[in-house]
Amino acid sequence: TVPTTIKPADPKLDPTTPMKSATTYNNFYEFGTGKGDPADSAGMLRTRPWEIAIGGEVAKPMTIGIEDLLKFPMEERIYRLRCVEGWSMVIPWVGFPLAELLKRVEPTGNARYVAFQTLNDPKQMPGLRSWVLDWPYTEGLRLDEAMHPLALLAVGMYGEVLPNQNGAPIRLVVPWKYGFKSIKSIVSISLVKDQPPTAWNKSQPREYGFYSNVNPEVDHPRWSQATERRVGDFSRRKTLPFNGYGEEVASLYAGMDLRKNY
């Protein structure tokens, strides 16, 4: 069994979201823009064989198969997930720190950012046929964010193998950022010198910044980010800076204007 290493300080305030909600209410536009589309059509995704190509500014580029990724020491972490749309969940992920994988490829001194890419196969992902975003889905982190112990690569949730609609077989979970930063079904990781382009930022740069840290003070241009509705709750609750992980991550952004770097 997998040890639980991180959980909400107050489980009464942050009860775990029912698995059914977390597996039927998803944003995974590769399978359609409806919240139920991923659960309906992600069955088409083949998660074996699966490889992640890791390269760029690294001493030891490699292609690593899912079998080897599953050999990392696993832990369970119960994180809050805050979607940029104003809803949130509490999900028990199973995975290992992204830093552990990055250490293996030995980033060089030139590496300052990490770029991620989702699978881009219209045969398995019907949503890729519509031009909602500039496919493939890409995301990025600054290297120090990526090396932060809270940044997780998840291969499971609720003690089970990650369901396809939640980003199988392996996805990123960055709990202090809006959910879209937590890229799903990763096929490529690249360490780079310059800030990499990211899918939502390319589509609407004013609305989705590169950092996209959860911040109740900085509204999305089209809606307020001050409150959120926890899925299953009736009324809204206040959104916390860095989604409540400020103590752990705020120092990463010391001296930065977070209104500018939204």
Partner: protein, 244 residues
């Protein structure tokens, strides 16, 4: 082999059905189905993980659908020559308003839980909500002036001009939908295209059916106007159903 289908017979049958005394109650009941269905799903917990947001979305979508259906009746009547379709314009337009009321109330009462400060900030700060509220104000005005008495009071010309506002409301509703989704999604654009198409039809009408109107009257010409009558006559003798 197949029996020949006579278009005029079909048209007459459609007209007979649409002008029967059961047609309006039937359409009325059908128009309530989305509401009953959504309430039922919410009650049984089948509305998904975010029932509040789902009910806001569903009611908004049905408001837009009924608005477009109401706007499609005149083109449909002109295309098919089925005059009876015109009887339902006001009722379906009012259903669009009804679902817009449900949409706004669920947003205010369920989504924001009467947080008036947040709501006011939404209206002034967020263009898609400003646009949506604009559409709602127009629909409210049109609903308030939808009675035969109001046609008389305003005078036909002014009433017709005012009710052209329905297209502004339709376009605003489509814009509201396009603006609120993330990215360029297909569904809102399709609704907008339909709305623009229906507007363009008024400018460049196409007539497939040979003009036989008024081959079938929607009711005897001499019948006095009852409270239920859908087509109040303008002072110039025309009917709002035949215009706009």
């Amino acid at each position: 082999m197949a029996a020949a289908i006579h278009i005029p017979d079909l048209r007459a049958a459609a007209n007979a059905a649409l002008t029967s005394r059961w047609a309006k109650p039937a359409v009325f009941m059908f128009a309530l189905i989305p509401l009953i269905w959504t309430v039922w799903l919410a009650y049984t917990g089948e509305l998904g993980a975010e029932p509040v947001l789902e009910s806001v979305k569903a009611s908004g979508l049905w408001a837009l659908r009924f608005l477009l259906i109401a706007l499609a009746l005149t083109p449909l009547r002109m295309l098919t020559g089925v005059a009876g379709l015109a009887r339902f314009r006001r009722m379906l337009g009012l259903f669009a308003f009804f679902y817009a009321v449900v949409h706004l109330s669920t947003y205010i009462g369920l989504d924001q839980f009467f947080d008036w400060t947040a709501i006011w900030q939404d209206i002034v700060k967020r263009p898609y909500i400003t646009v949506g509220m604009g559409a709602f104000m127009i629909l409210t005005t049109l609903a308030a002036t939808s009675t035969g008495g109001m046609v008389k009071r305003l005078g036909g010309k002014r009433w017709r001009l005012l009710h052209k506002g329905v297209f502004v409301a339709g376009l605003a509703a489509c814009l509201h939908f396009i603006m609120l989704v993330k990215g360029w999604q297909t569904a809102p654009l399709v609704y907008a295209l339909i709305c623009i198409g229906l507007l363009a039809f008024r400018r460049w009408p196409i007539r497939l059916a040979r003009r036989k109107e008024p081959a079938v009257r929607t009711r005897p010409a001499a019948a006095p106007r009852s409270a239920e009558a859908p087509e109040p006559r303008f002072p110039d003798g025309s009917s709002p159903a035949r215009r706009s």
